[in-house]
Amino acid sequence: MTGSNRTVSVFAGVDRVAVLLYVLLSLVGMAAVVSASWDETSENVFSFSHIYVKQAVWMFAAWVVGLVVLLLDRSIWHKFAYYAYGLGIIVLLATLLVGDKVNGAKAWLHFGGFRVQPMEFAKIAIALAVARFMSEYSFSISRAGDLFRLAAIILVPFGIVILQNDTGSGIVLGSFLFVLFREGLNKWICIPIIFIATLFIVSFLISPTTLLLALITVFTLSEGMMNRRWRDCIRYAAALLLSSIVLYLVLDALLPGGFDYYKSLLIATLLSLFVVLWYAYRNNLRNIYVSVAIFFLSMMFLPTSDFIFSSVLQPHQQKRILNFLGLLDDNYNVNQSKIAIGSGGFFGKGYLEGTQIRYNFVPEKHTDFIFCTVGEETGFVGSIVVLSLLCMLILRLMRMGDRQQETFGRVYCYCVAAIILFHTFVNVGMTIGIVPVMGIPLPFVSYGGSSFMAFTIMVFIAFSLDASTRKGLPTYGGRA
């Protein structure tokens, strides 16, 4: 193995691309926080009262902590996974008892001058515990008992966080499904969970056309993925789209105003299903039957969501979902956020020139809605840059997981990738109105010391585990 003979240094074997991505992201985040909290009237630019100065301090502190993580013995993460988990649960419980309420969530602890959100750190502990549990020799993903215990590891902190009224952070734990799938969880468990969760929200969507198009895209993609018949899938999608448009034009010409595009698309889709079934039969592709069934189910599912909605969710959560779906008209925050990003255009309005940001139209502009700053001031180009950095980091983490020799490291890396993915999707998604508002930060970009620090530690543990693999060092004792 390369590097195995080198003197052990801090960066030996560390994936430099990943570290570079991390540093770039934290700098981009820094720039965004500066813009979001810039005060042109201030006399002292470097005063500690400025949010961006605090963020800079946190950022450098986190970099130091990241180095420390790399310096630590790589076996301790496996060794102390359960202790960390236990500590995490205790701190979460303590927060539930003595924590501070911020924006309705009792999820913060006060330490002298600054506040910490323990859940940010607890996520690391949960990831470590999940990784440790799944890497046990006796663990089998297909055994029900093991699955239940695994579920308990995830659901206990989930329960506490829900009690803290911090639903956003709780839902992040759903991202562990990603890991379980990677580790061989039956996909017919995964897919319905995802669809039920998604449809639950999406079924209210303003435009049925969008819903239908999304369903078709998802199912075509998943079919392509499962059967590797990409050419047929693309043909199918193109044919469907074309025929629906032709149908629409014809029907509109025959019955002006009688048909909208949605109806034409629906008819075309339903008709196409026969072709699809015939295709599946001819090629003996069973999974297509399942997909078609779920496709039908997902449309049947729509009427029932109303019951769950009103009986299970709390009023403010209902309101957020209704706002998200455009059924309530006080979604001021999301509107302003969309205006900010939408008005950015291709190149943006220029750094520190965003009117929505400058004039405080965007709420929480330096924390949860930090992406508005990016979108408004640097436009589509800047947004793509930030998203690319995050995407590449996630893919890098997955690659790190895949090249791990031990299950522990693989699971952990996937956990980190999943958490970052989920945060990114929910956070950016809510600023552009495709996800209901949930108060979770954009990794490395949002202002917030504890969040930045926790994400740093989280990824650096992954870097550290990866580095030891590449150096050929055992990550922990006996099993190398």
Binding site: M225, K338, Y359, I384, M398, D402
Partner: protein, 606 residues
């Protein structure tokens, strides 16, 4: 290697696809809202740009000597954009204190603003500069001020003449697209007549509500200030006339005969135009509206009075032109005119009498003869045909029709038609039936403006210029051509001189108008005493001076003032004296006029 195998695991590939799909969805959505949907750009601009109307200063009005009749004064309207109000609320009490608005009004205004939360709604008007500064210090987001101008009247005269300025009504908005909500518009008098010139054009600005200095404003259209207008009115004379008319009901109109420019147009009682400016406009307007003497009614152009004996001038001129009367004609008068059961009374004077003395002393009987001669002229087949001819003559003097001045609201008065009498007397009428027309009584109605115009016609020996109140408008080379055209009557110029002689004698020799005598100015005049069914006779006087190259022609009408010489003559004479000499020598006459009390039971009765 195991790692290599793991990398090829289909699940790892699927998960990579999921990651890419998630980012793909985000990127597609971003592309849609950032690149495709172009609403957001304008929505962002709407957020911080405010569409503001910039109101131009209204044009100012000068009198004929360059003195301010109407000035514009700066004030501010308080506006609010409901959406921009501070979410945590604001100190309403302090706002009320600073601006002087009542809490109740503020609440109501805010409730209205809530209906249209994105646009500016008016809250309170006519803030002074100091109030505006104090408000700016408070700095409540959502509130802003718009500069306006209001009127100021240095002499506080000419309420009816100048009119007032008010906010444009819904009705006007419907009918005239050039006005927009909140515009000020002249509602009466000069302000209404010359609104197009005075108003100017609104400007439009997109204002960055977060930049205090306005450096980021975008001017869509600059406002164009209203043009100033030079009036033909003599402010000092107008004020003097209004003083003389105080406590009397009636009107004074004075015209410069050589141009048709109106020097004075006073309707009495009048009101202070300042009353109709600012916040109390509505209340004051209602108070004036409910005043039983109707100060808002511009008697100078709107009331229709019997002209009385002043109308004898017209009949004399028609008689001369028709050849049924010469200056040598002599008729008897036995304290009146008798024919059968008809009796038209007259005062005591020498009899029989000639043409000049008849005008000078205003003999009723003489003009009954004249009038009958006109109507019973054999040249026209019947009395009725002759009547038509007579009516045409009268109309050529400007009676019975609008003169077409630039002053809005002018009324036509009334000269009865043949059909009118046919209907009233069931076709059986003759010169005796309508005999009261001989002395300006009966159904005749004319406005003081028409009477003053008559004075101007006689002064000019046969023609008039359409009376008008504006001499020039800023930036316009010349006045409307119609004001520079001579309008001739149907009576030849040569017949005017005898009538002028009669009017001169009336003032200077032996007539009823001797109070109007002014040394060195050959004043000519004719009194009138118009009987009316409502009470005491109306006192009226038409006059011009000097006899040659006349500079002023005037008509005074005082309701229920008694004989013409009793009050109308002195008022007219004083105005002439003031205009011609610039001062008043006859203090006794001034005192007499000012102290003269006239009772108006018909107005003041409750």
């Amino acid at each position: 290697m195991k790692g290599h195998d793991e990398l090829r695991s289909p699940r790892a590939v699927i998960l990579r696809a999921v990651v890419l799909a998630v980012f793909g969805v985000i990127v597609l959505r971003l592309a849609y809202i950032q690149l495709v949907d172009d609403r957001y750009g304008s929505m962002a601009r709407d957020n911080f740009l405010r569409y503001e109307v910039q109101y131009p200063p209204r044009g100012e009005v000068f009198d004929r000597n360059g003195e301010y009749l109407v000035q514009s004064r700066e004030c501010y309207d308080l506006m609010v954009i409901y959406r921009d109000l501070p979410k945590e609320g604001f100190d309403t009490l302090r706002l009320c204190d600073v601006t002087g608005i009542s809490e109740r009004k503020l609440e109501r205004a805010l409730a209205d603003a809530r209906m249209r939360p994105r646009v500016g709604s008016p809250v309170f008007k006519f803030l002074s500069s100091e109030e505006k500064l104090r408000l700016d210090e408070m700095n409540v987001s959502g509130f802003y001020t718009v500069p306006r101008t209001v009127r100021r009247y240095p002499r506080n005269i000419g309420g009816n003449l100048l009119g007032s300025v008010g906010e444009v009504s819904r009705e006007m908005l419907r009918n005239y697209p050039e006005y927009s909500v909140g515009d000020y518009i002249g509602t009466e008098g000069l302000e209404a007549a010359y609104d197009d010139e005075l108003r100017g054009e609104n400007g439009y600005v997109l204002r960055d509500i977060y930049s205090r200095d306005g450096s980021r404003d975008t001017v869509l259209k600059r406002s164009v200030p209203g043009k100033s207008v030079v009036c033909t009115i003599d402010a000092r004379l107008q004020q003097f006339a209004e003083e003389l008319m105080r406590d009397k009901v009636g009107a004074v109109v004075a015209i410069e005969p050589s141009t048709g420019e109106i020097l004075v147009m006073a309707s009495s009682p009048t009101f202070d135009p300042e009353e109709l400016v600012g916040r109390n406009r509505g209340n004051n307007y209602m108070r004036e509206l409910n005043n039983s003497r109707h100060p808002l009614f511009n008697r100078a152009v709107k009331s229709s009075y019997p002209p009385g004996s002043t109308f004898k001038l017209v009949n004399a001129l028609i008689g001369l032109q028709e050849g049924v009367l010469t200056t040598r004609n002599v008729y008897p008068c036995n304290e009146g005119y008798d024919y059968g059961r008809i009796h038209v009374g007259c005062h005591k004077h020498a009899s029989p009498l000639g043409f000049y003395y008849a005008i000078s002393t205003s003999c009723n009987a003489y003009f009954c003869y004249v009038f009958r001669n006109i109507l019973e002229n054999d040249e026209y087949g019947s009395v009725k045909d002759a009547y038509d001819v007579w009516r045409d003559y009268v109309m050529s003097f400007g009676f019975g029709r609008k003169l077409g001045s630039d002053f809005l609201g002018e009324r036509s008065g009334y000269v009865p038609t043949r059909e009118f009498y046919d209907k009233r007397y069931r076709r059986s009428w003759n010169s005796l039936t309508v005999l009261s027309l001989a002395i300006g009584q009966g159904e005749l109605g004319c406005t003081p403006l028409q009477m003053a115009n008559l004075a101007a016609i006689v002064a000019n020996r046969g023609y008039y210029y359409i009376p008008h109140i504006v001499r020039s408008v800023e930036g316009c080379d010349s006045l409307d051509g119609r004001f520079r055209e001579r309008h001739y009557t149907m009576v030849d110029t040569k017949y005017f001189e005898p009538v002028v002689e009669g009017m001169w004698r009336s003032v200077n020799v032996d007539g009823t108008s001797r109070l109007a005598y002014l040394k060195d100015f050959d004043v000519c005049g004719k009194t009138g005493t118009a009987q009316n069914p409502r009470g005491e006779d109306h006192s009226t006087f038409v006059s011009f001076a000097p006899r040659e190259n006349p500079r002023i022609a005037i008509a005074v009408y005082v309701e229920h003032g008694g004989f013409g010489s009793e009050i109308a003559t002195p008022i007219a004479s004083l105005i002439e004296e003031m205009y011609l000499t610039g001062r008043i020598e006859r203090q006794w006459l001034l005192d007499y006029v000012k102290n003269k009390r006239i009772n108006y039971p018909m107005y003041d009765r409750k």
